[in-house]
């Protein structure tokens, strides 16, 4: 009987000890939190330094504003499949597009090449503007179809697939039209950005060569 009481007492003591330590941990945590955010007084600026700091802030704001792209530019959200045609902070047009599917294609056989169908992300420029573009099918297009890769370039050319216009932004990637308008808004492409006919026409006309493209 007495052993049972001792065990209960030990368990109670352990429990109380645990609660005391936990209480201490909470006290410590709250003390840390109370020190944040740092008091408004912060690192004080001496009165004589204030005009200099104000000038510095204005200069930084001007520099930041100067980083914005000049003229009309394109912003593409690959997650939402949206293209925004912008000028400074104004959105001139919003288009539903299709971006890369993220699928990996592996070549069967000995060569073991592979392709990742992602739309590249980053800052690009419009490098080419093409009317009535035709598609020179790369190797993966044939591998995906299970077809033999042709030797002649002529056998790779396909017209009508890319719509009426194409804007090249490097490494074989284009903003172009599509036959599959029902899939706009979904991630279905091999990396290019597919746009509906009307939006593509508007974007093509508005954007000059050298315009910035931001894809994120």
């Amino acid at each position: 009987m007495s052993i049972k009481r001792i065990l209960i007492a030990v368990a109670a003591l352990l429990y109380l000890g645990f609660l005391a330590v936990l209480g201490g941990a909470y006290y410590f945590g709250l003390k840390q939190a109370a020190a944040w955010p740092p008091k408004e007084a912060g690192p004080g600026i001496p009165d004589k330094e204030r005009p200099k700091v104000e000038r510095n802030v204005q200069q930084l704001e001007r520099r930041m504003a100067g980083l914005l792209p000049k003229g009309v530019y394109i912003v593409i959200d690959t997650a939402e499949n949206r293209l925004y045609l912008k000028n400074a902070q104004d959105v001139l047009r919003t288009a539903v597009v299709s971006c890369g599917s993220g699928v990996v294609l592996e070549e069967p056989g000995g060569k073991k090449r592979s392709w990742v169908f992602d739309t590249p992300r980053g800052e690009f420029t419009v490098k080419s503007k093409i009317t009535n573009p035709y598609w020179v099918k790369p190797d993966w297009a044939f591998i995906e179809e299970g077809e033999a890769i042709p030797r002649d370039v002529e056998d790779r050319i396909e017209s009508g697939t890319l719509g009426d216009y194409a804007l090249g932004f490097g490494e074989g990637f284009f903003i172009h039209g599509t036959l599959y308008t029902r899939l706009l808004g979904r991630n279905v492409t091999h990396g290019c950005v597919r746009v509906g006919d009307e939006d593509l026409k508007a974007v093509f006309k508005a954007v000059p060569l050298g315009a910035k493209i931001y894809i994120y």
């Binding site: 410590f28 802030v57 930084l60 914005l68 599917s101 800052e123 299970g146 899939l183 994120y216």
Partner: protein, 225 residues
């Protein structure tokens, strides 16, 4: 005599009251200069970066000083050393179920080449294109709960409001972790030479958390204000 003393006290009170906003103004100016300096260092390069404004309760993806996406915080909670502001870099993004890329190997016994790659307009399909089950990695495939580790030791858990703990066991495990394990770890344990810094950011919609997972890549730099 009494009047003079009263006048002196009143004048002192007025001057003290005027000095408080002056000091606050100076502090906010200093803070603005510091945050602009931090952001300019990132914005002058063409890469994307993020700005986590803890007091402003929002997370933003930016490039060249331009806000691309802004996600307002529904709520947040924190344990540990709160001095985590400044320029940071994402070291690791972890989740329980990371989305996997679909691999197509033509000629093998895998599923046929992705319909995603070559959808047929002639095929019978659901009325709403959003319902197509495509072989593709899309926003809806991204996790609604994941964590980010930064180079300053800050560990951030990001989740949508709806992506709480699943089931009683999950809720108990999460409660134990947040209300017992983390306070004790904060008191006794350290991660190497860095104190514990654990931040949880909760967003309203599933899509917000999923979009953050989509856009935040390893190595992305950012500013925590």
């Amino acid at each position: 005599m009494k009047k003079a003393a009263l006048f002196t006290v009143l004048m002192a009170a007025v001057l003290a009251a005027a000095a408080v906003p002056e000091a606050a103004g100076k502090a906010s100016l200093a803070k603005k200069q510091s945050s602009l300096n931090s952001e300019y260092a990132l914005a002058k390069d063409p890469g994307f970066y993020f700005v986590l404004d803890v007091l402003g309760r929002k997370l933003e993806l930016r490039v060249r000083g331009m806000v691309l996406r802004s996600w307002p915080l529904q709520s947040m909670r924190f344990w540990g050393q709160p001095d985590f502001s400044g320029n940071v870099e994402l070291v690791r993004k972890t989740t329980l179920k990371a989305p996997l890329r679909i691999v197509i190997k033509p000629g093998s016994e895998e599923p046929a080449p992705a319909p995603a790659a070559q959808p047929s307009p002639a095929k019978s399909a659901p009325a709403n294109p959003a319902e197509y089950d495509l072989e593709a990695l899309e926003l809806k495939d991204m996790p609604k709960r994941f964590s980010l580790d930064f180079d300053n030791g800050l560990h951030v858990t990001i989740r949508s409001k709806a992506a709480g703990s699943s089931g009683t066991f999950g809720a108990l495990r999460d409660a134990w972790r947040w209300y017992v394990a983390l306070p004790l770890k904060n008191l006794f344990g350290r991660r190497g030479d860095k104190a514990l810094s654990e931040l949880e950011l909760i967003f309203d919609g599933d899509k917000d958390a999923q979009a953050i997972y989509w856009h935040f890549f390893d190595g992305i730099k950012g500013v925590i204000l």
